[in-house]
């Protein structure tokens, strides 16, 4: 029973990590918190759903379409809401307000189209099979979710650490001025960061829709709150931190549902996050020093 819960927790946490990794990358590189990341997640889920139901596509093409759609939304968000503020050397809070506005608009449009009811992926979208590893039952769905999340996250880490453009992204994250003086097109790095991070958010949307077998137009809110908690917990802007934080939150939620009560799910898990932050105020991987001079 306990090990079974661990499998559930891993599937849940992996998706939180996937959502948070893009969220924290945007913060690390662009120094903004985009409160539209939940709406982007919802757009990704619906894009995957539409590809699955209207065009009968399988999970991999659905994920690709979802990532393309949410990446595009991320690009537009940057263009209309974030970039104009960047040009004006914005105050911290301005992009938050701008992205709340965008999130509201996107969500309203989707509610206009899809209403407020819940939608489901086709029931045989992921074959309903079980696998057993040393007594732990894993459904093919859980395996798919865990595998997809980790593959994407490993790709992101490889990109950031091993490729020329990935290193350019990290350089801009540390100091955009120094990055520019190396000949890095900083604006393009920002756009690229929004696209890639949003596409990860979209993939998380599809996987969440599959995990709970339901998607709806207001699914962006709860994940946004969790995303914020996770990136604070992990240390703002830190990729490893977002991964670890997502997994911790997943485990906290599943275990509190299993052993305490589902009514207290959020209270227990957010309480736990609060406790960790009391011990490490700047997060698990957070630096004590200020990021920039």
């Amino acid at each position: 029973m306990f090990y079974q819960q661990l499998a559930n927790a891993l599937a849940l946490g992996a998706v939180y990590s996937l959502f948070a990794i893009g969220f924290t990358l945007i913060f690390g590189v662009m120094e903004i918190i985009t409160l539209a990341h939940g709406a982007v997640f919802m757009v990704g889920a619906f894009a995957g759903y539409t590809a699955a139901t209207k065009f009968g596509l399988g999970i991999i093409p659905c994920l690709i379409i979802s990532m393309a759609a949410s990446g595009f939304i991320g690009f537009v968000l940057d263009l209309v809401a974030i970039r104009p503020l960047r040009k004006k050397k914005f105050h911290h809070l301005a992009p938050m307000i701008a992205t709340i506005g965008c999130a509201t608009i996107i969500t309203s449009i989707y509610q206009g189209i899809f209403g407020a009811e819940a939608y489901r992926f086709p029931f045989d979208f992921v074959p309903n099979e079980n696998y057993e590893f040393r007594g732990i039952q894993l459904t093919q769905l859980q395996l798919t979710i865990i595998f997809t999340s980790f593959i994407l996250m490993i790709m992101m880490i490889f990109f950031l650490n091993k490729t020329k453009w990935g290193k350019a992204v990290r350089a801009v994250a540390e100091n955009s001025r120094t990055g520019a003086l190396l000949g890095i097109p900083v604006e393009r790095v920002y756009q690229f960061t929004m696209i890639i991070s949003s596409s990860f958010g979209g993939a998380a949307g599809v996987l969440t829709g599959l995990n709970f077998n339901t998607i709806h137009t207001f699914m962006g809110g709860p994940i946004l709150h969790r995303g914020i908690a996770v990136i604070i917990l992990g240390g703002m802007g830190d990729i490893r931190g977002a991964m670890a934080g997502g997994l911790i939150l997943g485990f906290a939620e599943v275990l509190s549902v299993a052993y305490i009560s589902s009514d207290f799910r959020d209270a227990v898990s957010f309480g736990l996050l609060f406790l960790i932050l009391l011990i490490r105020p700047s997060g698990i991987f957070g630096k004590k020093i200020e990021r920039k001079g």
């Binding site: 020329k164 350019a168 001025r177 003086l181 190396l182 000949g183 097109p185």
Partner: protein, 234 residues
Amino acid sequence: MLELTDICADYGHIQALKGISLRVGRGEIVALIGANGAGKSSTLNTISGIVRASSGSIIYKGKNITKSHTDSIVRSGIIQVPEGRAILTTMKVSENLELGAFIRKDKRQIKKDIDEILTRFPILGSRLNQPAGTLSGGEQQMLAIGRALMGRPELLLLDEPSMGLAPLMVREIFNIIADIHKTGTAILIVEQNARMALKISSRGYVLETGNIMIEDTSESLLNNRKIIDAYLGG
């Protein structure tokens, strides 16, 4: 090679540059000296496109770059080593060097150039996998210069390369600058250590509150009574 004409620049209501005109010839070392806050860094940053000129023009190799973006200015061969600790502290020494070659595509030659930089700065070779922030001040400055060289500059802009370094290290950095010049790279060097800067340069400009006050050969500036009193410590 580089010609600034009547460049003005401001930060909101602070007018930092009030009509700067200067030029740097091909392969020349030119010194820009002046007190703290005179506008030296602002001049370099305007050339690099980080600060926008409000009026005036910057011509580089016959092309008007006054409104160009920083990345295209860097790609055209003007590379700045900014003042202070301008390295990427969280990234490895090797990654700093690689990023210096961001604008280049000749992978094999980049590898060779890294080796060459490491023979010039052996201390960096033993630290390649360390975060650059763990280097000492002098080592960081060497890394910053080495990284700039990785971009194969035709014109190198150096902003106070000796700032905060011990005297022995200052001498070493100036030797390195003289070496770089010998390879044919033009250099515009900004320094508070005016004596050193004038000694290695052929011409110099003296900047005071956003204006060029004097322009002369470095030799006569070194013997100019006013300059000696004001900038060379009597």
